[in-house]
């Protein structure tokens, strides 16, 4: 049997209120998540539903009230479980006094990478997250999206098998956002496991194999993305250069069969995101988001 990358069992997390007598607040209520190695798992849910708390429990940053979390079979409360995991917290914030390259070096050394290997890795990651130009600038002067990118690079510094990304594309522009999406897909191709949460459902839909929907601390729906979103009883036909008469003919054809019905006709639209990418990349070919 292959080992689970992430194994969260019946996780419950209560936050005690500092005021006595007030009932503890249950942020996560009996969540179980199993992620196979090599999967991309997306956790979605409204604000305050317990996504970040679940991730923190998985990293041992908060202790579960009950239940257990483990990474590659190692208990999350033990330091060793963190050997093979990279974490990007939401709204990451790093030491302002360090430059981009120094930041990556610092985290690399914490993972016991040194010397030439570390330097090569730092260069590679700065290239990957498109921060070459900012490598010697202090993080105090980084923008929100740049911080997010350096955070992503930091998470990948020791080339971990599992990446935990809390809203990886928050505050990143559409080009960067797409680069991050491509990066996640590339990681998946390399056999890495990714556990992410995001509010950009479109993106989650694009990259995730498995999705969990969490609401008020409880897992309300979970499964393979394919199974969750495909409308089994519908079929899509997209026509090109079809005139009104042809559409009418098809409508008539459908009606005549008796058991099927035409749900809608119209023009498919390009997404706003696609339009934005087209426009911005058209004017700035050097930036080259897509490789």
């Amino acid at each position: 049997m292959t080992q689970l990358a992430v194994d969260i069992r019946h996780l419950v997390k209560d936050f005690r209120s500092p005021l006595r007598g007030v009932k503890a607040f249950r942020a996560v209520d009996g969540v179980s998540i199993q992620i196979q190695a090599g999967e991309v798992y997306g956790l979605i849910g409204p604000n305050g539903s317990g996504k970040s708390t679940t991730m923190k429990a998985l990293l041992g940053l908060v202790a579960p009230t009950s239940g257990s979390c483990s990474i590659y079979g190692k208990d999350s409360m033990k330091v060793d479980s963190r050997n093979d995991v990279g974490f990007l917290p939401e709204n990451p914030y790093f030491y302002k006094h360090l430059t981009g390259a120094e930041t990556l070096r610092f985290y690399g050394k914490l993972c016991d990478i040194r010397g030439k290997v570390l330097e090569a890795r730092v260069d590679e990651l700065l290239e990957l997250v498109d921060l070459r130009d900012a490598r010697d600038r202090r993080l105090g002067g980084y923008s929100k999206g740049m911080l997010q990118r350096i955070g992503l690079a930091q998470a990948m510094i020791q080339d971990p098998r599992l990446l935990i990304l809390d809203e990886p594309t928050a505050g990143v522009d559409p080009i960067g956002s797409r680069q991050i999406r491509d990066l996640i897909l590339k990681l998946r191709d390399q056999g890495k496991t990714v556990f992410l949460c995001s509010h950009l459902l479109e993106q989650v839909q694009e990259v995730c194999d498995h999705v969990g929907i969490i609401f008020q601390g409880k897992m309300v729906k979970e499964g393979r993305l394919e199974d969750l979103i495909s409308l089994e009883d519908q079929t899509e036909i997209v026509l090109k250069d079809a005139d009104e008469a042809l559409v009418e003919e098809i409508r008539g054809l459908v009606e005549r069969t008796g058991h099927a019905s035409l749900v809608r006709t119209g023009r498919p639209r390009t997404t706003l995101e696609r339009l934005f990418l087209q426009e911005t990349q058209g004017n700035q070919p050097v930036k080259g988001g897509e490789k």
């Binding site: 908060v62 360090l98 016991d112 020791q158």
Partner: protein
């Protein structure tokens, strides 16, 4: 990453990385430059105040004592203030900025993190004190030489005996740069180490930096006055009254080191010899308290949630 790594506590390289990071963080803070420049100006100001001779009858070593007293005072103030504020600031800052998440999400035991922070602060204090000590020793050496020259000249012109001149020379050089003076500076460093460890402990459970700083200073004062107070209560206890106060004082004495033991600086300033034994005792005491407070901090910190 096939090979399995186990992460033992207090891996020296990891602690060194954390300490160096704290060190650079502090050095790149403007507050540090400010304090350091202030301290150096204060030291150098003494040097600019050129010696005036009051004739042989005046206590001719007085100005050397004054110089040492001033310098040691500045160094002590710098070391203690910096130790408390820097330690009190760093930890809550990491928690607030959530930098801590990213550090603890790497295979870093929480103990290593705490020790690294404290070590970084102490490293900076050590280097600053060494710089200030260097300045002080140099100034003192020059001033001692000047004084010696002047007094020798005076004594010879008055036809003192060789013995009298020799004893005067000995007396003056005792006030110059000596090993006891260095022991005094070392004791300042040790004092700041304990104070920093107390501050670290407080910052692990306090919720505000201001609280940490204020309580750290109060603890510092408590440590200073506890010897006096203990003496006072022992006297009253011998008089037959066991007061609630004396019990409190006993508890306080257990928790707080007696900072008056660190007053070897006074001896150093007076030019009195400081025994190697006294330095060893201080060293032992410092190690004991720093380890104690760090373990207590760890105890609190290991259950902390962010």
């Amino acid at each position: 990453m096939a090979k399995e790594k186990t992460n033992r506590w207090l891996q020296p390289r990891r602690v060194a990385v954390l300490a160096m990071n704290t060190f650079t963080q502090l050095v790149r803070m403007k507050v540090f430059y400010f304090l350091m420049i202030f301290a150096i100006i204060a030291l150098v100001a003494q040097f600019l105040d050129l010696p005036q001779y009051h004739g042989p009858e005046a206590v001719y070593t007085g100005e050397l004592t004054l110089l040492k007293g001033w310098c040691m005072g500045v160094m002590k103030l710098f070391a203690v203030v910096f130790s408390i504020t820097a330690t009190a600031l760093l930890l809550p800052k990491d928690v607030e900025d959530r930098t801590l998440y990213t550090i603890l999400a790497k295979p870093v035991p929480r103990l290593d993190y705490l020790v690294g922070k404290l070590a970084g602060v102490l490293l900076l204090i050590f280097i600053s004190l060494a710089v200030m000590d260097g300045i002080m020793t140099a100034v003192l050496a020059i001033r001692t030489d000047q004084l010696l020259e002047g007094q020798m000249f005076l004594a010879q012109s008055r036809g003192w005996t060789a013995e009298a001149i020799e004893s005067m020379r000995a007396e003056i050089s005792m006030q110059g740069p000596t090993w006891s003076l260095q022991a005094g500076v070392l004791s300042i460093f040790l004092l700041s180490a304990i104070v920093g460890a107390v501050s670290l402990l407080l910052s692990t459970f306090s919720t505000s930096t201001l609280f940490t700083i204020i309580v750290s200073f109060l603890c510092f004062l408590a440590g200073f006055f506890q010897a006096d107070a203990a003496e006072f209560y022992r006297a009253t206890a011998e008089a037959g009254t066991t007061t609630f106060g004396s019990l409190v004082m006993k508890a306080v004495a257990l928790v707080f080191p007696n900072y008056q033991l660190f007053n070897v600086t006074d001896a150093a300033i007076q030019g009195l010899p400081v025994s190697g034994m006294a330095v060893l005792v201080l060293l032992g005491l410092t190690v004991f308290y720093v380890v104690l407070y760090t373990l207590l901090s760890w105890f609190v910190f290991s259950d902390k949630e962010f």
